[in-house]
Each structure stands twice: as structure tokens, then as C-alpha cells.
């Protein structure tokens, strides 16, 4: 395997509603910034890969317009996944492993505010047996939270504590959306949104874009002072049917973490893509993270959850922490699908 590093990361501030700019206008400054910061000339970046979904824009081929933000002239070698940008980064990493290219631009984008995102995500469920029942994203997560509460694996208070800590940490992240000092007892006194989830257990609706440049060792060392090395990147999938899996566990996260080498060295930081508070508890257990690991210093997905961008943002935030010297080894995680169905784990390390 070739050594590959994240050499730069940039994002828009994640916001509740980006109405003034369309997707291309959101992306252009982010891509300019990430390329500039990478120290690699734009024309020398060998591959471009993006992640997005048509169901945010409400338009078929919505990623096609994003090509305009990249400046694909002369024509570029480019691909797209209908997945979180973290998987676009994986595809780019594979391309570099093939030896065909030495560097890649990865990005993802979306405006969740354009529609009723939680309801739209019902269309992600099995169209024959599940979607007709109308389970939206919050209800699916609520089933999962309930399963863990019933089994005594976590309490509503522990869930609230995750939310309070996340939004407190987000105060130090200028690009986070939902932040502030909250009190556990006060929010536990609030009514349920979808029992047993209260509003504070759920992610905000977020618009935004993020981008990263990754490069093989030679290029990375030359271009960048502090490359953040990808020591392992793996992803796995669980069953889709909520009835055919134990919702309180995440075997795919566990398997991806083991394969990526999560336990082969001391971790300082973990950026976990847990859109719902109880999911952080599931992920922490699946990855075997000890209490010494700082979880989600960025505030995580409870502070901003741009659909299909939040996973790439975890990799970006973890690499930022390493560059800032807040830790040497970090785990970044991305999820997709109802109830943490698909999971990716990326182990990052500074020099």
C-alpha cells in the first residue's frame, strides 16, 4: 500500500439554510481554498471524486452541475458516488493505490433545507415492505434509541449529556451551526419529539459543502508542511431491515474499525458521525474507545449535519485537530443509511 495523506481540508460554515447561493456557488470558494491550501497546482491533481444525492436537490443528475465548480477544462478524470463524501475519499484513495494518480480532490455538498429531509429519507428504506409504513429518519433512530433504553444499555440522561457536551464543544468551532451552553436537567424536562428522542437528541438541518485534497507520500511531503497520514480506511455494511439486526449494536463499525487498525495504537481523538445522541454511545462501544479519547471536539453531527457531507467533515475535522497539534492519532467515522446501516472508519496520524 502507498502512504497517502490528507494535505488540506476546507468547508463552508454549516448553516440552517443557505438560500443566497446554489450548490455550485457554495462549492466554488471551498474548492478554491482547499486547492490553494494543498500546495498542489490544480492541473496536477490527478483525480476528482464527489459525493452527493439527487434527493437533496430534488433533481436528477444534480451532481453534474457541481462539475462547474471544479473547472473541468481541460477535461478531468472524475467520478461520483451517491454516498457521503467520506466514501468519495475512499474511492480516491483506491485510485491512488492503483498508482495511476498521485493526488486527488474530494468534495461533497448539499442543501438539506430544500425539502423535508427526515421525511425524504423514508425513500431510503425498502420500497416494498418498509417505505409504505412511512418511517422517517427520526422515527427510525427513535426505534433504535428505545431498544437500547429498554435493555438498559443507556439512559435518557446519558443521551442528554452527549448533546450538551457536543454543543458546548461546538462553541469553539466557528463553522458549527448549533452551539451553546445547555443544562442536562432543563433539556430532560422538554417534551419528546419522537419518543424517546427529544429535539436535543436530534441533529439540526444543515446546508454546506466540504472538500479535501489527498496525496501520495512524495507529493504530500513536497506540498505540505503537516501531512495527516491515512493509516487505514475501511467500510462495511449492515443489514437494512431493522427487524433483522440488533439495533443497539453496530457490527459494521466494529469490523471496519478492526480492519482499519483502530486498536493498533493509542487514539487521542475520535470524530464520530453520530447524528443522534444515542448513536455516539453505540459507536463508542463498537470501536472500543476508552474514556481518554476526546470525542467530537468539533461538536460532531449534533452541531451540524449536512447530509452526505457530515462524514467527510469528520475526516476533515480530525485532520484539523492533528494539524493543530491537539493530538497525534485520530479516528474519523462516517455513517450512512437508517440506524447506522453503513459505516466507514479512517485512522489518521500526524508525523
Amino acid at each position: 500500500m502507498r502512504d497517502v495523506a490528507v494535505v488540506s481540508y476546507a468547508q463552508t460554515p454549516f448553516v440552517r439554510s443557505e438560500r443566497a447561493r446554489n450548490e455550485v456557488e457554495m462549492l466554488m470558494p471551498v474548492i478554491d481554498e482547499v486547492v490553494e491550501k494543498s500546495g498542489i497546482e490544480r492541473r496536477k491533481i490527478g483525480f476528482t471524486c464527489s459525493g452527493s444525492t439527487d434527493y437533496l436537490a430534488g433533481q436528477s443528475f444534480s451532481f453534474v452541475m457541481a462539475v462547474d465548480a471544479v473547472g473541468a477544462w481541460p477535461p478531468i478524470c472524475e467520478s461520483h458516488v451517491e454516498m457521503d463524501g467520506a466514501w468519495a475519499l475512499y474511492e480516491a484513495w483506491v485510485k491512488i493505490q492503483c498508482g495511476e494518480v498521485d493526488s486527488a480532490l474530494v468534495f461533497s455538498f448539499g442543501r438539506s433545507s430544500m425539502g423535508e429531509t427526515a421525511e425524504t429519507m423514508t425513500l431510503q428504506t425498502d420500497p416494498y415492505t418498509l417505505a409504505p409504513l412511512g418511517p422517517d429518519a427520526i422515527s427510525m433512530a427513535a426505534l433504535q434509541a428505545r431498544a437500547g433504553l429498554d435493555r438498559g444499555l443507556w439512559s435518557e440522561r446519558e443521551m442528554a449529556e452527549v448533546a450538551v457536551r457536543s454543543r458546548r464543544d461546538a462553541l469553539r468551532n466557528p463553522e458549527a451551526q448549533l452551539k451553546g451552553e445547555f443544562d442536562v436537567d432543563e433539556i430532560l424536562a422538554e417534551p419528546y419529539l419522537v419518543s424517546p428522542l427529544r429535539k436535543h437528541d436530534c441533529p439540526p438541518v444543515s446546508d454546506g459543502a466540504a472538500a479535501a485534497v489527498i496525496a501520495a507520500a512524495d507529493v504530500a511531503r513536497q506540498a505540505c508542511e503537516k501531512p495527516v497520514w491515512i493509516r487505514g480506511i475501511e467500510h462495511r455494511l449492515d443489514s437494512h431491515q431493522p427487524g433483522s439486526r440488533d439495533l443497539t449494536l453496530s457490527p459494521s463499525t466494529k469490523a471496519a474499525g478492526e480492519a482499519a487498525g483502530a486498536s493498533s495504537g493509542r487514539l487521542d481523538i475520535a470524530e464520530l458521525h453520530a447524528p443522534f445522541s444515542h448513536q455516539e454511545i453505540i459507536l463508542k462501544q463498537a470501536l472500543g474507545l476508552s474514556d481518554s479519547v476526546k470525542i467530537n471536539p468539533s461538536g460532531g453531527a449534533l452541531a451540524a449535519n449536512p447530509i452526505l457531507t457530515a462524514g467527510l467533515a469528520r475526516i476533515g475535522e480530525a485532520s484539523r485537530q492533528i494539524v493543530a497539534g491537539n493530538g497525534r492519532r485520530a479516528l474519523a467515522h462516517a455513517t450512512s443509511g437508517p440506524c447506522l446501516q453503513q459505516n466507514l472508519v479512517c485512522i489518521l496520524e500526524g508525523d
Binding site: 500500500m1 446554489n22 476528482t48 444525492t53 439527487d54 434527493y55 436537490a57 430534488g58 433533481q59 436528477s60 443528475f61 451532481f63 453534474v64 452541475m65 462539475v67 462547474d68 473541468a72 477544462w73 481541460p74 477535461p75 478531468i76 478524470c77 472524475e78 467520478s79 461520483h80 458516488v81 451517491e82 454516498m83 466514501w87 475512499y90 474511492e91 483506491v94 493505490q97 492503483c98 498508482g99 495511476e100 425524504t120 429519507m121 425513500l123 431510503q124 428504506t125 425498502d126 420500497p127 417505505a131 475501511e234 467500510h235 462495511r236 455494511l237 449492515d238 443489514s239 437494512h240 433483522s244 457490527p251 459494521s252 469490523a255 450512512s336 443509511g337 437508517p338 446501516q341 453503513q342
Partner: protein, 386 residues
């Protein structure tokens, strides 16, 4: 240095307007099971799955690969979902191949599909967005002006498109999986069919199909161990350019010209016309055969139509094109690119049955998408590239 990768199993469904006998699960399962049987492998032998399809609104489902997890046997495994417009079937195969070439996996299953009968593609392509012009109804309306531009430049005879359609429709009669089969087809039947988008007639356009195509891609060890011949992947390439800007030539896109030139270089090909035995390319409207012959450097500029006219692209010609009957005969959009790639592989494996090109040793698979702006291609051969 990249590892060798080869196609060691291929499976296709019967393509049809409405496959109401199967769900989306059943459709992909049909193709995937056949590919595994062809490779003489079981579900447990597969390391990872790469799935591709065109816009999710074509079925009215969002990221369907998630609910297809069990049907694709990828619970507990890595799964990637690719979407690069019409070229997606080709790009999906390329991503699957890269997982093997990078030495990450030994056996990758790749599947692409479309079940257009579950939604309405015309609706999905015509959604009005704020501050944007509505797209004219369907792809035909978009591509017809490009064809007219080609005719004006090249002076190609008016019946070039009819001749392409006749050839492809006759080839489809030899393909058991083809959707549209017209046993009595002749020149006059196509010439007299209604004009849809001048100069594209009804029988010069592709149907709307349900269907899936799957391949198993293995590493060198797998390919050498396999009972059936492998199609060795010599080179792959993808190129993209923006939809519109003043400097763009939409009739002869630079992305396609550069994609194929780089592809041949990677495969060690200096004269594609003589060194490639057959080509399966993405021709959703008849005239695109002539245009792509030039874009793929098989013919000089403005002379692609001559290859059709001289019979060079017919099954007995010096460069048979679209032996399967092509997109004109089966168009499960998300799968269409992969069907081209699979046909190229079937030819060098010698398993194309009645539409086999005698002695095919090296072939081209090609797909394009968007507004003639996304290209994906591969070259496969009966021996590994030295």
C-alpha cells in the same frame, strides 16, 4: 504498480419494458447470480460489491443500494455506489476493477441496473428547478441538435442513422437478452417510422428497459484458476467536462477524444482501427455510431459515417460495433454502460454465442453520459497485457 485484473464472470437479465415478474431485489439478484455461476464462485467468495445506477428518481427510491444489501450479499462487506450519469455502468466496472488493481481485494462483484418501469424517467429528467430553464422533454430533444450539427459538418448522407439502426436491430436478433427484437426489420420499416426529434426517427432511438448486468472481477490468481477464459483488463479511463460553456464542442467532445487517446496509450495501442477487433459503444440514438467512430479515433474527423456506409461496423466488417444490438435494443439506463463493458469482455472470452466476432482478442467497451460530457472506457483482451 497496479495488479492485473480480469473479468471472470458475467451475468445479464433478460431486458424488457416491464419486468413485473421481479422486484428490484429479484432483478439484481438474477444478474448477480448468473455472474457468480459463470465465475463458478459463491456469494461467500466475494470480498466487496460495487453497484451503479443512474438517477434514483428513475425508480423513486433514494440510495437503493442500502436496501439491496441483503440481495447483493454484501452484509458485513464493503459496498460502494457509483453514479456518473449515463456512463455509470462503465464507471462502476472501473471502480470495481480498481479495487482489484490496487491489491485491496481478490474478487469483487459489480452490478448495475435500472428498473424504469417503477417510476417515470421522462418525469425524473424534466423537473423544473428555480432559476433554471426546463430541460426539453427527454434525451432525444437534447441530442438531436448535436446530430444535426454533425450532419452539417460532415455532409453525411441522410440515411446514415437508418443504416446504423438496421445493423443494430439485426444484431439484437442474435442476442437472447436483448429487449427490442423486430424479426421483420428492414430499411423501409425504420425509414417510415415516425420522426421524433428530427433527424431521429422512432426506430433510431433506444427503448426504455428494466434490466441488470453483473460481472465478477478477479485478480491474476483467480483469473488463472478459473475454468472459463478470463477477459483481462488492459486499460481503463474516465473523463469529464462541464455541461456548457462557450469553448465546448458538444458534437465532438474533447473529454471523449482525450479519454480514448489516453486509453489506447495505456493499452499499448497505436492504431486502434487495426489493433482492436470489435467495439461495443454507447449509441442511444443511431447517429452516435458515426460520431463516436471519430471521437474514438477509429475514423478521421467527418468520416465516421463512412464506416457504417462501407459495412465496416457490421458483424462481418473489419471493426464490428455493437454486436449485442447495443443501447438501441436494450436500455436499462444505469446498466447500459456496464452491458457495453460486459459485451466487450464476452467477445474476448468467446462466449458471445450467435453475435460472437470470430477470433476477437482485444475489444473496447465505451459509455457516455450527461450532455455528452461523461466518458468511461475499457480495453479487454484474451491475454494479460505484457
Amino acid at each position: 504498480m497496479a495488479e492485473h485484473a480480469a473479468v471472470i464472470g458475467i451475468g445479464q437479465t433478460k431486458y424488457d419494458a416491464k419486468r413485473i415478474d421481479v422486484s428490484q431485489f429479484g432483478l439484481i439478484r438474477e444478474a448477480a447470480t448468473r455472474a457468480l455461476e459463470d465465475a463458478e464462485l459463491g456469494w461467500k467468495d466475494i470480498d466487496a460489491v460495487v453497484i451503479g445506477k443512474a438517477p434514483d428518481m428513475f425508480e423513486g427510491t433514494m440510495m437503493p443500494e442500502l436496501f439491496l444489501a441483503e440481495a447483493l450479499g454484501c452484509v458485513g462487506k464493503p459496498m460502494l455506489r457509483v453514479h456518473t450519469a449515463g456512463s455509470v455502468g462503465g464507471s462502476t466496472a472501473i471502480v470495481a476493477a480498481s479495487l482489484v488493481q490496487a491489491g485491496i481485494h481478490q474478487r469483487v462483484l459489480t452490478v448495475s441496473y435500472e428498473k424504469q418501469s417503477e417510476s417515470n424517467a421522462m418525469w425524473a429528467l424534466s423537473i423544473k428547478m428555480p432559476f433554471a430553464p426546463t430541460m426539453v422533454a427527454g434525451a432525444g430533444g437534447f441530442f438531436a441538435p448535436l446530430i444535426r450539427g454533425y450532419i452539417q459538418r460532415s455532409g453525411a448522407p441522410d440515411d446514415t442513422g437508418i443504416r446504423v439502426a438496421l445493423k443494430d436491430r439485426l444484431n439484437a436478433l442474435k442476442n437472447p437478452y436483448a429487449h427490442l427484437k423486430l424479426p421483420d426489420v428492414d430499411f423501409d420499416m425504420i425509414a417510415n417510422s415516425p420522426m421524433l426529434w428530427d433527424p431521429i426517427r422512432y426506430l433510431e432511438t433506444c427503448p426504455s428497459s428494466d434490466g441488470a448486468c453483473a460481472m465478477v472481477i478477479g485478480d491474476e490468481k483467480q483469473a488463472r484458476r478459473a475454468a472459463k477464459p478470463a477477459a483481462w483488463i488492459h486499460a481503463t479511463n474516465m473523463k469529464t467536462e462541464p455541461t456548457m460553456f462557450a469553448g465546448r464542442d458538444q458534437v465532438m467532445p474533447r473529454a471523449g477524444l482525450e479519454c480514448s487517446a489516453e486509453l489506447y496509450k495505456k493499452a499499448g495501442i497505436s492504431d486502434p482501427r487495426s489493433e482492436i477487433d470489435c467495439a461495443e459503444i454507447y449509441v442511444p440514438f443511431s447517429w452516435f455510431e458515426a460520431m463516436w467512430m471519430e471521437n474514438l479515433h477509429f475514423a478521421p474527423l467527418n468520416e465516421g459515417w463512412k464506416m457504417t456506409y462501407e459495412g465496416a461496423t457490421a458483424l462481418g466488417g473489419d471493426l464490428p460495433v455493437n454486436m449485442s444490438g447495443g443501447v438501441l435494443s436494450s436500455n436499462a439506463i444505469g446498466a447500459s454502460g456496464m452491458i457495453r463493458f460486459a459485451e466487450a469482455a464476452m467477445q474476448v472470452r468467446g462466449q458471445a454465442g450467435e453475435h460472437q466476432v470470430d477470433g476477437a482478442r482485444r475489444s473496447l467497451g465505451h459509455a457516455y453520459g450527461g450532455g455528452s460530457q461523461y466518458f468511461s472506457m475499457w480495453i479487454v483482451g484474451d491475454q494479460p497485457l505484457a
